[in-house]
């Protein structure tokens, strides 16, 4: 029980503190960074910034025909584990209670057994993503510590969650504590690595859309 108390108390407090501080650091350092003024005259086809951003965000939800064949695995697998993670994080009752306790926001939950099934699929999908990274020489060469570690800190909470729910290998409170510790690790790493895309993905895609539209790209 002591490990669980430690995890629910000091560890979560520390992790949330680092997460919030880290997020603010990343956001402020990014948005106050200089931006080189683009003095060129925009294309005649240039759209409004908002329209260009939204169109680019939508356009990138699915690959262009020329890339479809080559990226199909990453695309489908990526959708599977991203959607899976979203369902696990936001639709499991205990997770909603965690969020509600911190923010006051809550919504309806899905049945635990459904989340369990989604978790298994998500685990499989994450393992497939890792296998692909190992198997593809080009992808392996360009992979950095950030890629491997980010994968690990996402994988561990799902794995420990499934193991805790299944009561495998140790007493539930120990497994539950390990799950919380793995979530704490994820929270601490989130702002500082590539996982920051959870916050920046649509911002960066929107910005790309604005730039492309300025140059006359058809979005």
């Amino acid at each position: 029980m002591e490990l669980l108390e430690f995890a629910r108390g000091p560890v979560l407090t520390f992790a949330l503190t680092v997460f919030i501080g880290g997020m603010m650091f990343r956001i402020f350092s990014l948005f106050l960074m200089w931006r080189t003024r683009d003095s060129s005259e925009g294309s005649s086809r240039e759209r409004s910034s908002f329209s260009a951003a939204v169109r680019e965000i939508i356009r990138r939800l699915w690959p262009q025909a020329a890339y479809k064949q080559r990226t199909m695995f990453d695309l489908v697998n990526g959708y599977v584990f991203h959607l899976g993670l979203a369902i696990i994080v936001f639709a499991l009752a205990p997770h909603i209670l965690f969020i509600k306790d911190l923010t006051g926001l809550s919504w309806g939950a899905l049945p635990n057994n459904l989340i369990y099934a989604v978790s298994i699929i998500t685990l499989g999908s994450l393992i497939a993503a890792l296998a692909k990274r190992f198997a593809n020489p080009a992808q392996k060469i360009i992979s950095t510590f950030d890629d491997w570690f980010s994968w690990l800190v996402v994988f561990l909470p799902v794995l420990t969650g499934v193991i805790a729910t299944s009561h495998l290998g140790a007493r539930y409170e120990t497994l539950f504590a390990l799950h919380i510790l793995s979530v704490a690790l994820l929270l601490v790493w989130l702002p500082f690595g590539k996982l920051m895309h959870f916050f920046l993905v649509f911002i960066t895609r929107g910005q790309t859309g604005i730039q492309l539209s300025h140059r006359g790209a058809q979005l």
């Binding site: 029980m1 002591e2 669980l4 108390e5 629910r8 108390g9 979560l12 407090t13 949330l16 503190t17 680092v18 919030i20 501080g21 880290g22 997020m23 603010m24 650091f25 990343r26 956001i27 402020f28 350092s29 990014l30 948005f31 106050l32 960074m33 200089w34 080189t36 009752a93 205990p94 997770h95 209670l97 965690f98 306790d101 911190l102 939950a109 899905l110 049945p111 635990n112 057994n113 009561h167 539930y172 409170e173 539950f176």
Partner: protein, 361 residues
């Protein structure tokens, strides 16, 4: 005091029929999760046993554990258990008082050296030389050390004796510790709970009498027969948990429908006890059945587990107590790094060191 007669002979003298006795043995075997054949062994073991001398020490406690054991639900069990044992010392239940009571304790220790069982309820205060609880002029620590010296085994009953309990809760003003922190050279059986289930206490004593050995214990020293499974895993409301159907307050539709109490703070998933199976008050009910979440009273530090009404999946304490400071500090460091980068860039531009390729970035 111990008697020369066997318990079987004594029970016969008191008119306890063989059928009643065997029913008790079967019941005890079943609550101890022993195979049916063990009922015979229990019957033979108890019948042939001499009355077991028991010294019951009450320290920093509320007498709830004694209240509980005297309400063991099968009518004959209470009588039986007090026939089986010679309760030579117990503040609440003994007739003697004052120095006569203490003499009874010392006499029992002398007569049954190496054979008597010490039952302890309540925690032991150690702060300031243990002055916060004294009996007959000596501290609880002194009495415990003196009494367990020649004991066969020690049974700690209740969460105070097993884990420190409420006296040991934060800020623990008396420096209360469980029995296991003081007694290290004797077998200790922990029967935790606030109070423990009566049958967990009587069943364990019956096991000791029957087999003369310690039952299988979990890592917290508790008999696995009673503490082997989590409340949550045997809870009749578990299907509602799986379906995501929760009571959100004690008076909403979910509460009236008997849905899962996880959201209102039930600690059943991390609490090991037999409440959901043996139940209380003659098998009538248990806290969750009565509409209140499990408090986790049979687990260490249950009083300090972050609040009885906070869901288990939430952080304890105030997890956002440093969030404001962290946000300001993060923003300040982020802004400073951006300003630093701008300054560096401007300096580089002024120095004419800027390369065209960098500008494009």
């Amino acid at each position: 005091m111990s008697d020369k007669k066997t318990l079987g002979e004594m029970l016969t003298e008191r008119g306890v029929s063989r059928r009643t006795f065997l029913k008790y043995a079967s019941y005890t075997a079943s609550i101890l999760a022993l195979p049916p054949t063990a009922a015979t062994a229990i019957a033979q073991g108890i019948a042939n046993a001499r009355r077991q001398s028991v010294i019951w020490l009450s320290f920093q406690e509320c007498t709830g554990c004694t209240e509980s054991i005297t309400r063991a639900h099968t009518p004959s069990i209470e009588d039986l258990i007090f026939d089986f044992i010679s309760l030579d010392y117990h503040h609440t239940l003994m007739n003697a008082s004052g120095h006569l009571a203490e003499e009874a304790r010392l006499q029992a220790m002398a007569d049954n050296a190496g054979e008597y069982i010490v039952i302890v309820d309540g925690s032991v205060p150690l702060k300031d030389d243990g002055i916060y609880s004294t009996i007959a002029g000596i501290t609880n620590l002194q009495m415990l050390q003196e009494t367990v010296k020649d004991a066969f085994a020690v049974i700690a009953v209740g969460s105070c004796a097993t884990f420190g309990g409420i006296p040991g809760a934060h800020p623990n003003p008396t420096g209360a510790v469980p029995v296991s922190e003081i007694v290290t050279d004797k077998p200790i059986i922990n029967i935790s709970g606030c109070p423990p289930i009566p049958e967990a206490m009587t069943g364990t004593i019956a096991y000791l009498l029957s087999f003369g050995s310690i039952p299988e214990l979990d890592e917290l020293g508790r008999p696995k027969a009673f503490y082997g499974e989590a409340i949550h895993d045997r809870c009749y409301r578990r299907p509602f948990y799986e379906r995501g159907m929760f009571a959100r307050s004690f008076d909403d539709e979910g509460a009236r429908q008997g849905w899962c109490l996880y959201e209102v703070g039930c600690k059943g998933p991390v609490t090991y006890n037999a409440c959901a199976t043996l139940k209380w008050n003659g098998g009538v009910s248990f806290p969750i059945q009565s509409g209140h979440g499990c408090l986790g009273c049979s687990e260490p530090n249950f009083w300090d587990m972050g609040g009885f009404y906070k869901p288990l999946s939430t952080a304890t304490g105030d997890p956002l107590k440093w969030a404001g400071g962290a946000a300001v500090a993060g923003a300040a460091i982020g802004a400073a790094s951006a300003v630093l980068a701008r300054t560096k860039r401007n300096k580089a531009i002024k120095a004419g060191a800027r390369k065209p390729s960098q500008e494009a970035k």
